[in-house]
């Protein structure tokens, strides 16, 4: 019984401290993300890129993963990047080193379009 009370009170304390320190906690998370090499993911599902528009900071490495049973490609509309054909579960990564808007599409199924915005 004593132990349960102890655990419970600890839990209450922990929640209280989390709630009180929420702003600084968020700030900590953001700085931790920035400290790591920035990465982002785009999933290819059901003949579409998700998210359709991805916003990242300069230096972010974006990785596309094809989760369809059909091969796809990731090809920049203005030639900035171009993947090989990606079969199921294959990946393609590109690191964005310049600010700008990068529209891209699947050259096999050109109705599939997406955009990476680099800030």
């Amino acid at each position: 019984m004593k132990r349960i009370v102890l655990v419970l009170s600890f839990a209450v304390l922990a929640i209280a401290s989390l709630t009180l320190s929420a702003p600084s906690h968020q700030a900590f998370l953001v700085s931790a993300q920035a400290a790591q090499a920035a990465t982002a993911e785009v999933k290819i599902d059901n003949f579409s890129f998700g998210p359709g528009t991805l916003t990242v900071s300069v230096g972010t490495a974006v990785t596309w993963t094809n989760r369809d049973d059909i091969p796809h490609t990731v090809v920049s509309t203005d030639g900035a990047f171009k993947s090989k054909v990606l079969d199921t579960d294959e990946k393609f990564s590109f690191t964005f080193s310049k600010v700008g808007s990068y529209p891209y599409f699947c050259s096999i199924h050109p109705k599939m379009t997406g955009k990476v915005v680099v800030q």
């Binding site: 049973d69 059909i70 509309t77 096999i108 109705k111």
Partner: protein
């Protein structure tokens, strides 16, 4: 409609609206090819899977050939882990025809990933067919990574440009077009200026009474542009064919049978020898319809063309075998 039983959902375990009966109907799209007969200058096409019901007289004409499509050799996902086996089944059906076809047309997606061994396997299997001549046009899966150079080397020795060509058989003019290269973001299949100019020139000298058969991978009519099932500049190509009394357009790409008549032009799409795809807009995407392999093999060939026609929003010509 009084005599017709209303469809019920019998076993909808996946809550996807596809019950067993619906599933069987879906499999109607997994037919193996089309037997085409040119008679009196008009082409009629019949599902290879229903030839046993065919009136033998209907098979007689000036010329007959078989269209197969979308073999996707190398595909090994649950929708069909044995695409070589189902292509062989198509060849067996071709060889069982009472009237041997003059040749085969393959309307693209021969391979799944443009790998040399995938093309080799298809070539090997098709060597077993009674018809020795095979005419190919590329699908988008045949021109991955190299803008179609490998395809041209293998199948396009006598072709023009990026692989288009024409030939004549028994008074019928056949035109093979390429609409899977240089695709633009957000766009559909594309023929391109150079090919269109060639087409205009190719048909210019022909008599208006010459039956024309055009074949290409992506449909040359707007089947469902939302899924890319159409060709940007097909209207220009069809404009060059307006003067002809009989024009037939044969396509693949959509892995299901559809037919449509527009003026002097009849459009057909062939089923895949590999796996079915959903009806336009009837799924989240045009990806392969997944069914257990042994069921796919067992059901291949049981086509219900009437269903496809009846459920289709498009105008469809009667392809029944009566």
């Amino acid at each position: 409609m009084s005599g017709k039983k209303k469809d019920e959902i019998l076993h909808d375990h996946n809550h996807d609206g596809i019950d067993r009966r619906g599933f069987l109907k879906c499999m109607a799209w997994a037919g193996t090819g089309a037997f085409c007969v040119m008679s009196g200058g008009v082409l009629k096409s019949y599902s290879l899977s229903r030839l046993s019901e065919m009136n033998p007289a209907a098979a007689k004409g000036e010329l007959s050939f078989v269209q197969i499509s979308d073999s996707h050799m190398g595909f090994n996902k649950p929708a069909n882990p044995d695409v070589a086996g189902t292509l062989k089944a198509a060849v067996d059906k071709i060889n069982a025809l009472q009237t041997a076809p003059e040749f085969l047309l393959h309307t693209g997606d021969i391979s799944h990933l443009s790998k040399p061994e995938e093309f080799d396997t298809v070539d090997q299997i098709l060597k077993g067919a009674s018809a020795k001549d095979v005419f190919f046009v590329p699908g988008e899966h045949d021109v991955l990574n190299d803008d179609g150079r490998q395809f041209l080397e293998r199948y396009g020795k006598n072709a023009k440009g990026q692989g288009w060509y024409s030939f004549d058989k028994k008074g019928v003019h056949f035109v093979g077009l390429v609409n899977v290269l240089n695709l633009k973001a957000g766009g559909l299949g594309t023929l391109g200026h150079e090919q269109l100019e060639w087409l205009e020139d190719d048909v210019k000298h022909l008599k208006h009474s010459t039956p024309i058969v055009v074949f290409a991978h992506i449909p040359l009519w707007s089947v469902y542009p939302e899924w890319g099932w159409g060709t940007e500049d097909s209207a220009q190509a069809l404009a060059y064919l307006k003067k002809f009394g009989s024009v037939t357009v044969l396509n693949g790409h959509i892995h299901q049978t559809m037919q449509k008549v527009e003026g002097n032009v009849t459009f057909h799409t062939a089923a895949s020898t590999a796996f079915p795809q959903p009806q336009p807009g009837k799924a989240d995407s045009p990806g392969p319809m997944k069914v257990p392999a042994e069921q796919l093999r067992g059901i291949l060939g049981i086509t219900d063309v009437n269903y496809v026609q009846g459920q289709n929003a498009l105008a469809v010509v009667d392809s029944s075998l009566a």
